[in-house]
């Protein structure tokens, strides 16, 4: 019970950070929206993705990029708490220790959801349409939510171990670039052998394909299970490493 109360109080605190500096959500959503504009209106005409509308094809990958750029702020906030000694202050108080990390993770889920909603709204303006029903949207929310959870725990690791603010946020760049070598922007069939092999066997492709199928109102098939397996594996490994880093950090 105390752990839940402590987590609620601490989550309230870090959510207030976000409402006080909404620029973190704006910048999170801005880059993916810029990518949407760039690919739909500048490059999209030359890309043959086979779908009726390129924005429909593109959106799932852009949502993955949104999550990757959002969680880097979680690493940053955690890093700042550590540097300011606030984490130590919490450690010397009679509160449930895991609640400190969980409050940052829950805050990340809320902030990322808001950024995802903003990007989807922008896509709707640009002509994105979905045939998915309520169940389909719930499944999409489930995939994106669990991906956010997994990547947030991944972000906790640099947040706790980085020695500079750049180090705390820099890990997100590979995550943001990973969708480019996947089926997010163009079908993998157009890629040369080794690149295609990599693209088809990295997590983003299965996640993006599953979300795309769901949004189109189709059955995602095996992609869904491969995507969930990837997300579950990332979550498990990241959670174990993050809690180990936390224990090391607080001695």
């Amino acid at each position: 019970m105390t752990a839940l109360t402590d987590t609620a109080v601490l989550t309230g605190r870090s959510l207030r950070h976000i409402t006080r500096s909404p620029d973190t959500i704006i910048t999170t959503a801005l880059m993916p929206i810029a990518f949407l504009l760039l690919f739909v209106y500048v490059l999209g005409g030359a890309i043959d993705a086979g779908a009726a509308s390129y924005v429909d094809y593109l959106l799932p990958g852009i949502l993955v990029i949104t999550i990757a750029s959002s969680i880097s702020y979680t690493a940053f906030r955690l890093y700042l708490d550590l540097q300011a000694g606030i984490l130590e202050r919490f450690q010397t108080m009679p509160i449930a220790r895991p609640s400190v990390l969980w409050s940052h993770v829950l805050t990340s889920l809320v902030a990322t959801s808001v950024a995802l909603a903003a990007v989807i709204a922008a896509a709707l303006v640009m002509g994105f349409r979905s045939d998915a029903g309520v169940l389909g949207w719930l499944a999409v929310a489930g995939i994106l939510g669990s991906l956010t959870l997994a990547l947030t725990w991944l972000a906790v690791i640099p947040g706790l171990t980085a020695t500079s603010p750049d180090g705390a946020t820099g890990f997100a760049y590979p995550l943001i670039l990973l969708p480019f070598v996947s089926s997010a922007f163009v079908p993998t069939e157009t890629m040369p052998g080794p690149v295609r092999w990599f693209a088809e066997h990295q997590p983003v492709t299965s996640i993006v394909d599953a979300v795309r199928a769901l949004l189109a109102g189709q059955a995602p098939g095996a992609d869904l299970w491969i995507a969930l397996a990837w997300v579950g594996a990332i979550l498990a490994v990241a959670y174990i490493l993050a809690t180990a880093a936390y224990r090391r950090r607080i001695g």
Partner: protein
């Protein structure tokens, strides 16, 4: 009656660096003890062990009757730590910082407690402002105010006046004195001899990993041969001049 803080044979090393090599220390309830030592003497290490942030390699330590190694949760119920750098949330207001700590400490009426602390530390007017706009002295006072929410019986202050101007330092001293008058046990670390002399009931000198002297100021003075009497015109210190010129109130 057991001491509020009892340390016996505490050792701590970082690799080949032996920071603490057998510290013994007792702090009586309701007293102020200053832990004096030069930079790197291990003062902070000892405080971190006592506040459950760090585990000792050897030795025993208890705070408010609870062993720091076997009952850290009970220790945390009885203490608060004010570290070397004010651990305050810059984005929240001063009042929100206090309410946050009050909630986490399960204090009834967090808002009322926050207002009382703001008034007590001369921050009532600044309470609604973000801490990011505070001066160093205000931050430090807020930091100490946060530590005292819920009236923990034992308070550790790690170099509480480092980086403060003389006025702010005197304000902190007055706050610490008031704490001890109210029955709180205070263990503070300092490198300023002046501070130890002004505040502490007892002074312990930490040097090369051990407490080499521990006693009242009078006892410490007695360690040195009796002074010879000389006539010297007493010049005001620069600090006294500064405080007189800027119109600060007398010494605490």
């Amino acid at each position: 009656m057991t001491a509020a803080v009892a340390v016996r044979g505490i050792e701590k090393s970082y690799g080949d660096l032996h920071v603490l090599t057998g510290v013994d220390l007792e702090v009586a309830r309701g007293s102020i003890v200053a832990l004096l030592g030069s930079n790197g003497a291990g003062k902070t290490t000892l405080v971190r062990i006592l506040s459950t942030l760090l585990k000792a390699d050897a030795g025993e330590a208890s705070v408010a009757g609870h062993d720091v190694a076997s009952a850290p949760a009970e220790v945390r119920m009885s203490i608060s730590l004010t570290g070397q750098f004010a651990a305050v949330d810059e984005i929240l207001t001063g009042r929100e910082n206090l309410v946050l700590v009050a909630r986490l400490r399960r204090v009834p009426d967090p808002g009322g407690v926050a207002d009382a602390q703001l008034a007590r530390f001369g921050l009532a007017e600044a309470g609604a402002r973000r801490v990011g706009t505070y001066s160093g002295g205000m931050r430090r006072r807020l930091d100490i105010a946060m530590s005292l929410v819920g009236d923990p019986p034992v308070v550790f202050l790690d170099e509480p006046t480092t980086g403060l101007d003389p006025q702010a330092r005197r304000e902190v001293w007055a706050a610490v004195r008031a704490l001890a008058d109210g029955g709180t046990t205070v263990l503070l670390t300092t490198q300023t001899l002046d501070e130890a002399e002004h505040l502490a009931d007892r002074i312990a000198i930490l040097h090369e990993g051990r407490i080499i002297v521990d006693g009242t100021l009078a006892e410490l003075r007695a360690l040195i041969p009796a002074p010879t009497v000389e006539h010297v015109e007493k010049q005001p210190t620069l600090e006294e001049v500064f405080l007189a010129v800027v119109g600060a109130k007398g010494t605490p």
